[in-house]
């Protein structure tokens, strides 16, 4: 069996003295969409931030392409191709849409900036119409597109999306899931954190359910969808 692209084992992390992640284990295979589900406060964003190097891992291992990357600085992690689109988007409000996209390739894939720029504009035609506009003046949905477009500029090996459908209209949510599936078909491995359980499991290959900083359920997406516990806790059936 091939090594997974990302392998996390026994991961502990938290803020100050408060432990949030309490022994997370998960794996992401190349080419997959892997869903991370869990209710508010389960530790999903915390996990993403540890993976991106924004937050220190206390214990446990994180391996990416067979290399230990736990507690490497964020820029080293970006360099290896783990690109996160965070909750709240973190676009650069005082820069133009074009400049935001350009900075997506600040650390990685700079040589192919022009080609990736065209690609991002092809994926998000709405951004192309607004290249000169300050990113802070975009609508929420457009900002989300920009954040993903900026990530695409870095040619991610693993794209981490933290609740990309948050705050979008139902129609845009639909569009967003279609887009994630399309990015995946084009070869991008995706770690997808979501609250939108049904839609997420429809496009995902595998899923991990987080509760209180621990993985309480995992398996193939259809298996997780059938699980009684999940039905009870999320879907109310």
């Amino acid at each position: 069996m091939a090594e997974p692209l990302l392998k996390v084992d026994g991961l502990h992390a938290g803020y100050g003295a408060v432990e949030i992640l309490r022994g997370i284990a998960l794996a992401v295979d190349e080419g997959e969409i892997v869903a991370v589900l869990g209710s508010n406060g389960a530790g999903k964003t915390t996990l993403n931030n540890v993976l991106s190097g924004l937050l220190r891992a206390w214990r446990g291992s994180i391996c990416f392409e067979g290399e230990v990357i736990a507690n490497r600085p964020p820029q080293a992690i970006v360099e290896r191709g783990i690109i996160q689109v965070p909750e709240g988007r973190s676009i650069f409000p005082t820069l133009t849409v074009r400049e935001n996209l350009e900075l997506g390739s600040y650390r990685r894939a700079r040589a192919r900036r022009a080609a990736n720029f065209d690609r991002a504009c092809a994926i998000f035609p709405r951004l192309r119409e607004r290249l000169g506009q300050f990113a802070g003046t975009l609508s929420g949905g457009e900002q989300q597109m920009l954040a993903i477009g900026r990530a695409v500029m870095a040619e991610p090996r693993l794209l981490i999306l933290d609740e990309p459908s948050l705050g979008l209209s139902p129609r845009l949510v639909e569009e967003m899931f279609g887009l994630i599936a399309r990015l995946n078909e084009e070869g991008c491995t995706i770690l997808l954190v979501e609250q939108n359980v049904m839609q997420t499991l429809t496009i995902a290959d595998h899923a991990f359910v987080l509760e209180n900083g621990m993985v309480t359920l995992s398996g193939s997406a259809p298996a997780v969808m059938d699980d009684a516990t999940l039905k009870r806790s999320y879907l109310g059936i």
Partner: protein, 290 residues
Amino acid sequence: MVEAAIIVPAILNGLTTGAVYALVALGLTLIYGVLHIINFAHGALLMVALYGVYFLYALAGIDPYLALPIMIPAMFALGYLLQRYVIGRAGHGKDENVMLVTLGLSIVIENLALYLWSSDTRTIETAYGFATVDLGVALIAVPKAVAFVGALAITAVLWALMRWTDLGKAIRALARERRGAQLVGIDVEHLYAVSFGIGIACLGAAACLLLPSYYASPHIGSAFVLIAFTIVVLGGMGSFIGALVGGLIIGVTESLGGLFLGESLGKIGVFLIFIAVLLFRPTGLFGQRV
């Protein structure tokens, strides 16, 4: 009625001084805009730069203008190291700490200068020191004309750097969105230090342009720091164009104040502007409204 023959040269002189003030203020406003700290050591570091230019001339015979390619990188390096290993480390991310550190630094630097170089004022004599250019409406001292053109040119280069290069874009990005910057792979601590270094490099350039018509002394910094703060407040904290326009306005105000009220009282105009801006337009001319 005051003659135009007196006023025009005063305005032109004010503009030349103002351009150099703008360069000093530009460094201050850049540091504020990116690191969100007020660098109280700005004046002391300008003083260090002035001594640097002085000694390059006095000991090595290097003309102040030819010292530009030495002083700009040297002051950049000094600023980079200060931010990376002193201010950034000692601040522990708290703004009050950082203020105290820069204030402390300025006191240490000034006293060190006093100890090493005594309180004597140092001037240099250049072949062009007393030469003038005739602009038709007025005669302007050559060093002042060079300072004006040089300061504007350096400002333009800096503007282009901030506007067009990846480095400039990354600095502007970091100024507003630290997490986003980290997530595109910007080395945040390095870039903070680079920004501080650029702000201090402005002082290296200003010192080269100033010294032929000015002097170096251990306390010279404080005079500039007050003016630079006024410019930054007038132009709007963190505003690039504000620092430039503010610098020119303050230069002219000071010059006209000197003309009408005499050298010592002339500075009053500058502080009246300072107070008026704080009262009526606290965001400054080009500041963003909160």
